[in-house]
């Protein structure tokens, strides 16, 4: 018997994985948003410097990216396992189920984490293709910062967000992120059992703050760029 496989294949074990990977992803989002704040600076030098420094990590950056990808993959796989188990557990549903209110946290958002998650998964693929594997230095996206030639990531970002459709797509996806985090943040603590009656409410409220902060923090960036750049800076 291999204990770890048994532990993590139980319904409880899967939720440990889900909660732990979710917490790691929230941490990543916080760091990502802090990095993205460089986009508010004029002329893009700050973002390009930040990007160049990240690139400068070399193997370290790749290790971080692989770790992040594995965490996301773990989160997705366990999500589908958990959802599948639960679908099997109730083959025939109710005529018109209704929440009983009170302590219940059952909302359209919390009941449909798999749907908001799928939207975020699709978003992630588009987002990575667009910016991580977007137009490269070889394609002429270069600029000089402090005398050194670096990848002009800022131009890639601006070229996307002067287009209203891209702005709408990003804003829409970040609303889904907000709903996912609203239930996900508190839920991770409960899934891992690291909660007690005194902390439960504050952590749940903090989840709302984090969901609002991250969702709005991210979604204002494309809006800001659209309104500051689409006038004169149209390429």
């Amino acid at each position: 018997m291999v204990p770890l496989t048994r532990l993590f294949s139980s319904t409880l074990g899967r939720k440990y994985l889900m909660g732990a990977s979710g917490m790691a992803l929230v941490l990543f989002l916080v760091v990502h948003l802090l990095g993205n704040l460089t986009l508010y600076a004029p002329n893009g030098d700050l973002l390009n410097t930040y990007a160049a420094r990240l690139q400068g990590l070399g193997i370290g950056l790749i290790a971080l990216e692989v770790g992040l990808a594995l965490t996301i993959l773990l989160h997705i796989i366990t999500a589908f396992q958990v959802t599948y188990t639960s679908k099997l557990a109730r083959p025939i549903g109710y005529d018109s189920p209704k929440t009983k209110g009170g302590p219940s946290k059952s909302t359209a958002g919390s009941r449909n984490m798999i749907l908001t998650g799928i939207v975020l998964g699709v978003f992630l693929v588009v987002h990575i293709l667009q910016f991580r594997f977007g137009p490269s230095m070889e394609e002429g996206y270069t600029t000089t910062v402090n005398g050194a030639m670096v990848h002009d990531l800022y131009r890639v970002v601006v070229e996307a967000f002067v287009q209203p459709l891209w702005v709408a797509f990003y804003v829409g996806c970040m609303v889904f992120l907000g709903f996912h985090l609203r239930h996900g943040y508190w839920s991770a603590f409960q899934s891992l059992g690291i909660i007690n009656p005194r902390w439960s409410k504050p952590i749940h409220t903090l989840g709302l703050l984090i969901a609002l902060l991250l969702a709005f923090g991210f979604l204002f960036i494309p809006i800001f760029i659209y309104f500051t750049q689409s006038g004169g800076g149209n390429p």
Binding site: L12, R14, S86, L88, K105
Partner: protein, 268 residues
């Protein structure tokens, strides 16, 4: 007799009827008039059944026993809510005054793969018994009756254990959970022992075996919606689920577990 005792109402009922475990089921509609508003929900169903028997039809089968909210036998999904719209009450403690005159009331059985329908509104809830038998007891010999207060238990701990032990095993948590998870039931049984010194001897194997059994029965996974707590007639807190998560993780990474003592066949 107060005035309200003689007030009556009419109801329309939409009830799940199913001949047997493998027979296809369907909703059937019934009308009842002259129902006393202070009748309990089950007395209303008794009235319906008397009418059906008089008409030579098969009565609606449902379970009840104590009819005073303490046994956990009655188990109806009323208007899409486990035990109906009143919180902290079993179906037998639901009264017709909670409904509007002429209201269409939908009545369904608990829906879960682990609770197969036997007939109409009766489900087989023995999955709960099997979870309990897997470890919901103290296996250590306790010897003769101990003196009161020979084992000191702080009052707050005793209270929390008692709150968990209030579970009557009705299955409303499973019925109300969108995932048909039995986490609240299992965690209440795990916690009531885990908190008390008498339960410590079997602590690790208990949680492992009970969770194993819960998974084997085909219940779903907890997604922390807390709908179970809202539906529980004893208002059992999902804090117990958090305690079960701690207990399970601690047991799973312990040496006993790795040696196989957590399995049903290993260890005593």
């Amino acid at each position: 007799m107060s005035a309200s005792n003689s007030k009556t109402m009419n109801v329309r009922l939409k009830i799940w009827r199913q001949e047997g475990p493998s027979a296809p089921g369907a909703f059937e509609e019934y009308s009842l008039s002259g129902i006393l508003v202070d009748m309990s929900f089950l007395e209303m169903l008794d009235t319906l059944n008397e009418k059906l028997i008089h008409e030579g039809k098969r009565p609606v089968e449902f379970e009840s026993d104590c009819r005073e909210g303490i046994c956990g036998t009655c188990s109806l999904m009323v208007q899409g809510q486990a035990h109906g719209p009143v919180r902290g009450a079993t179906t037998c403690q639901l009264y017709m005054r909670s409904f509007q005159d002429g209201e269409l009331i939908t009545i369904e059985p608990w829906r879960a793969k682990a609770f197969p329908i036997l007939r109409d509104l009766i489900t087989d809830r023995r999955a709960f018994d099997r979870i309990q038998m897997a470890g919901g007891y103290t296996g250590a010999k306790t010897g003769p009756h101990a003196d009161a207060n020979a084992i000191l238990i702080p009052k707050d701990i005793a209270d929390r254990a008692m709150d968990a032990a209030a579970c009557i095993g009705c299955g409303a948590c499973v019925a109300a959970c969108p995932n048909a998870s039995a986490s609240l039931f299992t965690s209440a049984k795990v916690t009531q022992f885990a908190l008390l010194p008498q339960g410590h001897a079997d602590r690790k194997r208990r949680v492992i075996r009970m969770v194993d059994q819960m998974d084997k029965e085909g219940f779903g996974s907890c997604s922390n919606l807390q709908e179970c707590e809202a539906a529980c007639p004893k208002k059992i807190s999902i804090q117990n689920i958090a305690i079960m998560k701690q207990e399970y993780l601690k047991a799973a990474i312990s040496a006993d577990f790795r040696a196989g003592l957590g399995s049903a066949d290993g260890g005593a």
